[in-house]
């Protein structure tokens, strides 16, 4: 069967820059990986496929790509499938891993078949692209002509729009990524214990954050540092306006009071 579908870029282990947005979900990615085995889908090695998928997802996680939850769910399931497939036969749980693998293979075959069917449909001689009808036919005198034109689509669309218009709007406020003050106190309080020397405030921030989350973490960590200093658990130093802010753990003998003493105040 001729493959009329333009294949998506084939992922390779060294081609992990491929955006996950180009896949329509895990099954789509699995199908592309399966096709890269270049054998009939009935003969693909499910074990090899599972390993490819897991390597692909693992590579993406190393690069700290944001992965949609369903890719991770599929990865977890495939990892389970892989370990089951490698178990001795008698220890196999129910349903058997062979059946699960077969099921996955059947799903891939079905998706592939429909994808090719879609491509073959699109390649047919289509009205308006390959064959043409008269653009403005005069029309026939109709014996009984409905005077009003309205399609089912029009009807459903107007009901949908009506309901959308008349139903109370629900506004969802998207949760912004923030580091709360409590989290920051917890984090800075834990980390500063290991900082004997003066250490910049920035080095207490979590790695790999950017944008609003980074700003939130910086602001919260600064306030947390002030609070921890007030509690006597750390000291703050800054040489001048806009200069770096340094933190270090409070020395127990300083100010003649240890942490326990402070807590009593």
């Amino acid at each position: 069967m001729e493959d009329l579908f333009t294949p998506p870029p084939q992922p390779r282990a060294d081609m992990l820059t491929v955006s996950f947005e180009s896949w329509e979900g895990p099954l789509d990615l699995l199908l592309a990986l399966a096709r890269s085995q270049k054998v009939d889908l009935r003969e693909i090695s499910i074990l090899a496929l599972v390993e490819q998928y897991l390597a692909y997802v693992e590579g993406a996680r190393k690069l700290k790509l944001e992965l949609a939850a369903d890719y991770l769910v599929m990865a977890a399931w495939l990892a389970y499938l892989k370990s089951s497939l490698l178990l001795p036969k008698q220890a196999q749980p129910d349903p058997s891993p062979d059946e699960l693998a077969l099921r996955l293979q059947l799903r891939l075959q079905r998706l592939h078949a429909m994808r090719e069917a879609g491509a073959r449909l699109m390649a047919r001689d289509r009205i308006g692209r390959d064959v043409f009808v008269r653009p403005r036919p005069e029309g026939l005198r109709l014996v009984r002509k409905a005077k009003w034109a309205a399609s089912l689509y029009d009807l459903l669309q107007s009901y949908g729009q009506l309901r959308a218009r008349t139903q109370p709007a629900v506004h969802m406020v998207a949760a912004r990524p923030v580091m709360t003050l409590d989290e920051a106190i917890q984090r800075v309080g834990t980390l500063v214990g290991s900082a004997i020397d003066w250490t910049t405030l920035e080095s207490f921030l979590p790695d790999g954050q950017d944008g609003p989350m980074a700003r939130s973490a910086l602001a919260s960590s600064f306030v947390a540092a002030l609070e921890l200093a007030r509690q006597g658990r750390l000291e703050i130093q800054q040489d001048g306006i806009y200069e770096p802010i340094y933190l270090r753990a409070a020395l127990p003998d300083q100010n003649g009071a240890d942490q326990g003493g402070r807590r009593l105040l």
């Binding site: 043409f132 089912l152 009506l162 959308a164």
Partner: protein
Amino acid sequence: MQEPDDFMRAVEAALFVAEHPLTAAELRQHVGEAGDLGTALATLSDHYAGRGINLVERGGRWHFQTAADLAHILRREKDETRKLSRAAMETLAIIAYHEPVSRAEVEAIRGVQVAKGTLDVLMEAGWVRPAGRREVPGRPLIYATTHEFLSHFGLSSRRDLPGLDDLRAAGLLDPVDLALEGLGAQSVLENDEEEA
């Protein structure tokens, strides 16, 4: 019958899909310079002379038209089909989804008054009928859809109407502007031209 060559077939097809009668020069733009256009037009014109469609020349422009003696079969009536107004469409949809329903109830759902003419149009179209009175104070007239309604919209019963969840899933429950944005963002349609 002599089979037409490709040049003649091209002339025939170009005339068939033309929006207006074409001059020889306009035809040339479609079919190229390769063939003998005069001969092709003459041969086609002869070929169609005794048929239900004729190829005719008027003032140097060529077009197909139906044979004059068949006009009585094909004459088109003056009144064209009109699109239902939005108010009528919404009223019809409300009656279909909520029937039997009184005019006050339609107004309550739409949030605006229903003009007298709107229900008249729907009844004249044969899609809506009075279906008795509601036994409440004032005994308002209630309306329901007809079986012409079902057959016009290709429904076997009112139970075939998609429910709200189906409408939502199909993207039909979005407000107008949102729905348009959604279309743009997904670029499912690169071209809105309606095809026959």
